[in-house]
Symmetry: C2
Subunit: 398 residues, 2 copies
Amino acid sequence: MALIVQKFGGSSVANPERVNHVADIICDTYRKGYDVVVVVSAQGDTTDDLIEKAKEINPNASKREMDMLLSAGEQISIALLAMAIEKQGLPVCSLLGWQAGVHTDAIYGNSRIRRVDTERMTAELSKHNILIVAGFQGINKFDDITTLGRGGSDTSAVSLAVALKAEKCQIFTDVDGVYTADPRIVKNAQKLDEINYNEMLELATLGAQVLHNRSVEMAQKYAVELEVLSSITNNKGTIVKENVEVEKTIIRGVAKDDNIARISIVGLQDVPGVAFKLFDRLAQKRVNVDIILQSVGRDGTKDITFTVSRDQQEVAMEVVTAFDPQAKVSCDNNISKVSIVGSGMESHPSVAAKMFEALYAADINIQMINTSEIRISVLIDINDSNKALKAVHDAFIK
Amino acid sequence: MALIVQKFGGSSVANPERVNHVADIICDTYRKGYDVVVVVSAQGDTTDDLIEKAKEINPNASKREMDMLLSAGEQISIALLAMAIEKQGLPVCSLLGWQAGVHTDAIYGNSRIRRVDTERMTAELSKHNILIVAGFQGINKFDDITTLGRGGSDTSAVSLAVALKAEKCQIFTDVDGVYTADPRIVKNAQKLDEINYNEMLELATLGAQVLHNRSVEMAQKYAVELEVLSSITNNKGTIVKENVEVEKTIIRGVAKDDNIARISIVGLQDVPGVAFKLFDRLAQKRVNVDIILQSVGRDGTKDITFTVSRDQQEVAMEVVTAFDPQAKVSCDNNISKVSIVGSGMESHPSVAAKMFEALYAADINIQMINTSEIRISVLIDINDSNKALKAVHDAFIK
């Protein structure tokens, strides 16, 4: 029998009404003749509430104990969702990460799934049970509970879809698909029917928060078809798959990220290996560097500028300040990154010029530029970010 | 190294201050040179809150899913308590029931511990970790989480003490020991320094809610010394063990239970096996019958009267009403059971007379009487219960 994996986020199960509605969606799918495996996150603000409880007692609690604490959130939601399905008279069985055979590496707080032992799930499916599996969690080689980090339930869902050879993996969320831009900012943003993995990955990384990027990578690697759709409306969602028809639009979407900071180091000694050493030290402190720009400075020195996410700004500044006492360091977080994404741009060299023209026409100054094969990003003043998003969207998407 | 098992109930960890205070008690014990294994219940009203959440979604949820839900409560409290100990700089490790090797039978909602596999706990103790174990929960042969029923954390604690050969098992609660009567009702009630297992068992069964009776049975079977003491004061508690010095008082304590109902069946056909059949049907419905009284009725019939707890009254009435359509059935729950307990009464035949005299002097009518070797219970009008408790306490305990 064909199997569908369905994933529901925390807001989809935030209260009893929503839990019952999600149960309706699951039971409908089951009654259509599918085997159904559901992955669910903790209800609404449960995870944040638990983090708050921990902070009150020990702001420096170990990650092992944080994982023990936070994984209780999904445990509550799988039990409640299973109860809602029992009420509809269908056979159901909730499973914790370890019961579903989700084995991770040993890293607490941000672990990666190593393998999924499907024995228990297969046995329950053969009894025609609907399975409700706790997302975001697994078990490591010490038999300790681990969590996959924020957004990890998407990864849980795709991993189960891969392990169980699901026909597809549906990610239910509070928006009804992937849009050409954030509809709250760009009123005429359009829902996409389809998008390919690479485009989705760029959009996910750029802050379009409908899918966790690790889950998109995994879906691409194992060719799992994803569908992003709303748990509230019954509308058709957006399909994420490998081969997507090239539409008239060259650009699949535009996105902005306000959560960044730019760090500049002026007057670094110009000796071989200086860039390597700097970014190696940043990597050691687990700082993810995004855009890097290096230029020749005055008097045989060099200047390096790079961006990081705002929550890593402090750590990055510590590293940079200690790196070369001669150099002058500065930091600016009044900036925003606006990007356009689309596989079509590979064959359309005029895309960048058109983007810059749209920004120029809107009187917006570009501070830095960064590109990949299917993406162009610019750094601008944060106060211009919404205006820039609209201008770029209007230039490409009619 | 000598090992102590300490158990803390839900009110002892109800808020961050209490959690920190409990961590102090544990760390003090550890610093004195003991290995420490802690069993903890869910915080404050967590279990009730979770039950409420379940009822909103499905009042008839399966016991398996209820166990999945409720066991999250202890998971939260073990993590928070471990974090409070981490703050004090001591090595600690929280363990869920299944991680601690607590294996139960397959009954959900009210399971019994079958065995404790100490492998993981022993390994953690050899690393000098303080262990914080989730009470009230275990795992069954299907790898499903089970709960031991209300009060089951006491049983968890004693089971671990048995399995790990602990020197003693300390049960911390919100009273500072076992009293001769409920101090809220009988002002001059006295704290006992010692009590033997049988006496404690009778008191626990009679509603003195300091210890779960299954835990006392297990402690007696394996000769584990129990100590009941307060998590708030630093007072010495009450020791529960096999051989307790006979004190001047013959009676160890008095207790009352208002949570009972009396069911009477008048005019049952007097044929062999009628009582067996009646109580067998009640047992099939899992009704626990307490006091039973059978007498000869009119015209070759017999009358049977018995008591059950009030929450089983409805089920019991259904069974009894269907049992013999000829018989007349009635139910009364305006009653209370007042009992005196003490090993000393075995050698003092005048105890019963003295109890009845005290009740007579207080103008209280006795409706039924039931005795064991170390207990005498009477059924009286519920409105007289506090007066009766005081009168009996004053007669025996100076």
